[in-house]
């Protein structure tokens, strides 16, 4: 074979090894993220269903056509005068309740975060829940940081890098592995390894572009805090209103919410307001955040800041008018969660997102089959893969139960312990295996020389 041919062959072997090892060591992580991600794209829809059916948080028709919530907000502010943050979430569809996210930080006490539901027609508080213990929060936190507060988010980012590596190396070795097999044919065989390998190649190549986008955006979102610190990147839209009042006086200011909505319509007509946040730091402003229909950017990133008293616009952030860097920064989350094309797109995202989970499972079975063939291992690969899958599901369901029925902090503690113990054991095992292999190779070389 020519030198060029050798080089190409070595390159393919290297990519195969990389695909193999990255897949083996991060397959479980990719599988968990695939499963949680496929559900996470539907968080707003799932939460809306829970609010409607579990909390009976349904709105009657507003007489003015605009959501009514002024009286309810006043009563909440009177009930919790020392709240540290209050965000009003406007309904996306008629019939949905207005949601108020209220954070209270008592001095020396634990942070409390509640969601209150307001009937947008009659302006009555119709229910409340602990925000942290909600299913929506569980689904988000499990996908975003595996419920591990210390470095869970970074672990997820590493999972994104791993998915990008396996997707790219998979593409590079695809041709070599297909040989004379044509896409989308599956070989007729009762052998589990061949069956799984064929499905692995078929789905891997079919959803490659999608998985690559998810992997790269996921890697950025997961490693964002570290990358921003290392590369000295600042958050776009770093607006901070000037402080003109005492914080207590700012909180006590009465806000004309309908006036705020009218002013928003006048100042930023394309904006669909979704969140209204009054200031509590003494700036005397109200921040209105929302979406511009048809644009592919992170939710609620377009902003209008209005004066609490005369409703004049203090600041406007329309992401469409910003430089490329801002647009690129804010497109990541939308692309990752498929939050820009309605329910159909979300369904496609969930379907394609599940392929990476299937790829990690099928890859794992192929790996176990190869191992069994080499070492005459008696354990059935299908059973081992099934046992791993059940353990993962038990972990996800267990943490969900703790989070929903006991508390977020307790669930986070348990998840943190499980993940960190498993991670330490996994790294220790990999290191020990590498050292043992290296020792055996050296010993064999010494014996051969003798």
């Amino acid at each position: 074979m020519s030198k060029r041919g050798d080089k190409a062959e070595n390159g393919k072997k290297f990519f195969w090894r990389l695909h193999h090892w990255v897949g083996v060591y991060t397959g479980i992580l990719i599988g968990v993220l695939s499963l949680t991600g496929a559900v996470a794209v539907f968080i707003p829809e799932i939460d809306a269903l829970i609010l409607k059916h579990h909390y009976d948080a349904v709105s009657t028709t507003s007489p003015t056509g605009m959501p009514q919530f002024s009286k309810s907000i006043d009563s909440l502010v009177r009930r919790y005068p020392d709240y540290s943050s209050l965000a009003i979430s406007l309904p996306d569809h008629p019939g949905q309740a207005v949601k108020v996210d209220l954070i209270i930080r008592p001095e020396g006490g634990d942070l409390k975060r509640y969601d209150f539901f307001i009937d947008a027609g009659s302006d009555y508080i119709i229910g409340q829940r602990d925000h942290q213990n909600s299913l929506a929060n569980y689904l988000r936190q499990m996908h975003v940081r595996l419920y591990e507060g210390y470095w869970g988010r970074q672990l997820v980012g590493i999972g994104g890098i791993a998915l990008a590596v396996v997707a790219l190396t998979g593409l590079l070795i695809y041709g070599n592995f297909m040989k004379r097999q044509a896409w989308p044919n599956l070989r007729k065989s009762v052998n589990m390894r061949i069956h799984m390998a064929d499905w692995h190649k078929l789905l891997g190549i079919s959803a490659l572009a999608f998985n690559l986008v998810i992997a790269l955006t996921g890697a950025w979102l997961g490693l964002q805090p570290w990358l921003m610190r290392w590369l000295d990147i600042t958050t776009p839209n770093p607006y901070k209103a000037a402080i003109v009042l005492e914080p207590a006086n700012d909180r006590a200011l009465t806000v004309d919410w309908q006036g705020i909505l009218n002013a928003t319509e006048k100042e930023f007509p394309e904006l669909q307001p979704r969140y209204i946040t009054p200031s509590t730091n003494g700036s005397g402003t109200v921040m209105v955040r929302g979406n511009i229909p048809g644009s592919i950017y992170e939710r609620d990133i377009n902003t209008l800041v209005l004066s609490k008293t005369d409703h004049t616009a203090v600041f406007k952030y329309d992401v469409r008018e910003q430089p490329f860097g801002h647009k690129f920064y804010y497109v990541q989350e939308a692309l990752h969660f498929g939050d820009f094309g309605g329910l159909m797109l979300k369904a496609l995202y969930a379907l394609l997102g599940l392929t990476s989970g299937f790829l990690s499972l099928s890859g794992f079975i192929v790996f176990l089959c190869r191992k069994k063939k080499k070492k005459a291992n008696k354990a059935a690969p299908g059973k081992i893969a099934f046992a791993y899958s059940v353990l993962i599901l038990l972990f996800l369901v267990g943490i969900a139960q703790i989070s929903l029925f006991i508390g977020y902090a307790e669930a986070s503690l348990v998840a943190g312990i499980i993940i960190n113990v498993l991670l330490a054991a996994f790294v220790g095992y990999a290191l020990a295996k590498y050292l043992m292999g290296s020792y055996r190779r050296k010993r064999r070389a010494i014996l051969a020389r003798k």
Partner: protein
């Protein structure tokens, strides 16, 4: 015979993966355009839908010319209506 095998290898190893890659983006693009009514003109929407159909048929038929044309057509649509 050898030529035919080579052609088939080019289709299977390069054109099919490239078409699938483009199809992923095109499918998301078409759903986005329909669900948000965000097409630039009716021709834009017709062209997008036609390319999605063409890519699907090209993958089913595995004709090299059809595959190349449908991939190029989508790239042209992206460039023209950017």
């Amino acid at each position: 015979m050898k030529k035919r095998t080579q052609k088939s290898q080019v289709i299977e190893r390069y054109l099919v993966p490239a078409a699938l890659f483009v199809l992923n983006f095109c499918a998301v693009h078409v759903i986005y355009a329909y669900s948000t009514n965000s097409w630039i003109s009716l021709w834009h929407l017709i062209a997008l839908t036609a390319v999605l159909v063409a890519l699907t048929f090209a993958l089913a038929l595995k004709n090299s010319g059809f595959l190349v044309c449908s991939i190029t057509a989508y790239l042209l649509i992206l460039t023209y209506w950017w």
